[in-house]
Subunit: 285 residues, 2 copies
């Protein structure tokens, strides 16, 4: 029986810190505020938005929605980005992506003020993750993985960590964060030969393969910590991760469930970034 | 007896391509030009500068020196950066670093136009290395390692690669470049436990530890390719790498010597970036 690394426990601790910071800011006359920019009515965007606004309300963070039709022009979206950039009352921005295909997404992403880039879409934030400099904010999902490791006191120094996946949203930033935590880090991906034996070497495994049940009992051994970033819907219509939980859980030391693991932490990380951005903006006044 | 991966062979092939491009540009009325910004008279800066200007002359690339005294002010250095940014006849800039301690190096680095950042000092170039987007230029040393692998036809796909060192100048960018080449990449560093066994697992090893002879025969096995980035001076006053060459060379399949390996390729990579920047500038006219 592996120890369950539960998102809700991490979220509870994170929320407590965020609420305290938000209250201190408000006592100081600053209301931390998230700007939500959505183009169209994509169902998964709407679902994430509901979670984010609910979390904002719980944590004492305001939000303001900027809604555009699915056929909005590049100029219209850029005008909204320009508006939030100039609005001192908006501290961080969540822009739902991917944008509709007729838009130039990169141009829109790079137009955002890096100081408000709480979801790591600008090159400035990317450079911050890579260099370790205080530039922008890291992507919320890999940071949620680090929050879980920290919360459960899992020290990475000198440990072998394997990241499965090399995406810009999870795999590569997770690798950089684990290197910063002094782990010896290996990045695996679709071209890796004999991935089970590589993953078995690790003490800590972050799985962001983007495919249900990729990591099964042939990949793991006793003593490992498994963080499952995957969110998939299985044949029975139920949410599941990239790890075959039922096969892996009896073998390893600790594991995040899906749902109830990484995903639930991500929203609090995002709101935490907004509060942090508000603190920085207040300090600049 | 390992195959020697010789910088001069890689340089000869690179130079041929650079000369052809530079000639085509000049026939088109554009003379690719490197701006060299030096503060003070540091001996290792002067030595690198001699190598760079000699290589420029050989490859048909112009250079222009901007020399400042060791006690130059922040404003003076920034004024020079502003001057090269505005000068359309300068396509790339080499700024010797570290700058004297009284200067704010980061502010100066970030002031350079990313389009002229041929030595990867801006956050824009860093983001490019991390994201794989066409932003700025990667650092010359890890790119020189990749040029060596390419020149000798060493395919990285599916291979295990280990990078020893996690610096921003070599280790981390080398890891990103190897991931892009489809290797399964592990980054080791001073906090890695049992580094010999980790390095022994690799098919390709890039050593950028920054200490003479760190990697000895206990780290290697038959079949490996070893790229030695180190440049150190040993007790006898001779140049040597981070790999104990005499102990390692008889065991592995291929190895770069020091001197005569990576270091000699770096300068041509830099000049290649200048020519590339000149091509892009010409295309924008």
């Amino acid at each position: 029986m592996a120890k369950q690394l539960l998102g809700k426990e991490v979220v509870a601790a994170l929320n407590e810190r965020i609420i305290a910071k938000a209250e201190a800011l408000k006592a100081n006359g600053v209301t931390p505020t998230l700007g939500i920019v959505r183009v169209g009515e994509n169902e998964s965007d709407l679902s994430y938005e509901r979670g984010a606004t609910k979390r904002c309300e719980k944590l004492g963070v305001e939000y303001k929605k900027y809604l555009l039709p699915a056929d909005a022009t590049q100029e219209q979206v850029l005008a909204v980005i320009d508006e939030v950039n100039k609005d001192d009352s908006i501290h961080g921005v969540l822009l739902f992506r991917p944008l509709p295909k007729h838009l130039n997404q990169d141009e829109i992403e790079q137009a955002l003020d890096p100081a408000k880039d709480v979801d790591c879409m600008t090159n400035g934030s990317m450079a911050g993750v890579f260099t370790g400099k205080d530039l922008g904010y890291p992507p919320c999902t890999p940071q949620a993985c680090m929050e879980i490791l920290d919360h459960y006191g899992i020290d990475c120094t000198g440990k072998k960590a394997v990241v499965v996946g090399r995406s810009l949203v999870v795999g590569k930033p997770a690798a950089m964060m684990l290197i910063k935590k002094n782990a010896t880090v290996t990045v695996c991906h679709t071209r890796t030969v004999d991935m089970p034996s590589v993953v078995k070497e690790a003490d800590i495994v972050i799985v962001a393969a983007g495919r249900a049940g990729v990591v099964d009992d042939s990949y793991v051994r006793a003593g490992q910590v498994i963080i499952d970033v995957g969110i998939n819907v299985n044949a029975e219509g139920k949410l599941c991760g990239d790890v075959a939980y039922d096969k892996v859980e009896p073998i390893v030391d600790a594991i995040t469930p899906v749902p109830g693991g990484v995903g639930s932490v991500t929203t609090s990380v995002l709101i935490g970034h907004v509060v942090d951005a508000a603190e920085k903006a207040a300090a600049r006044r």
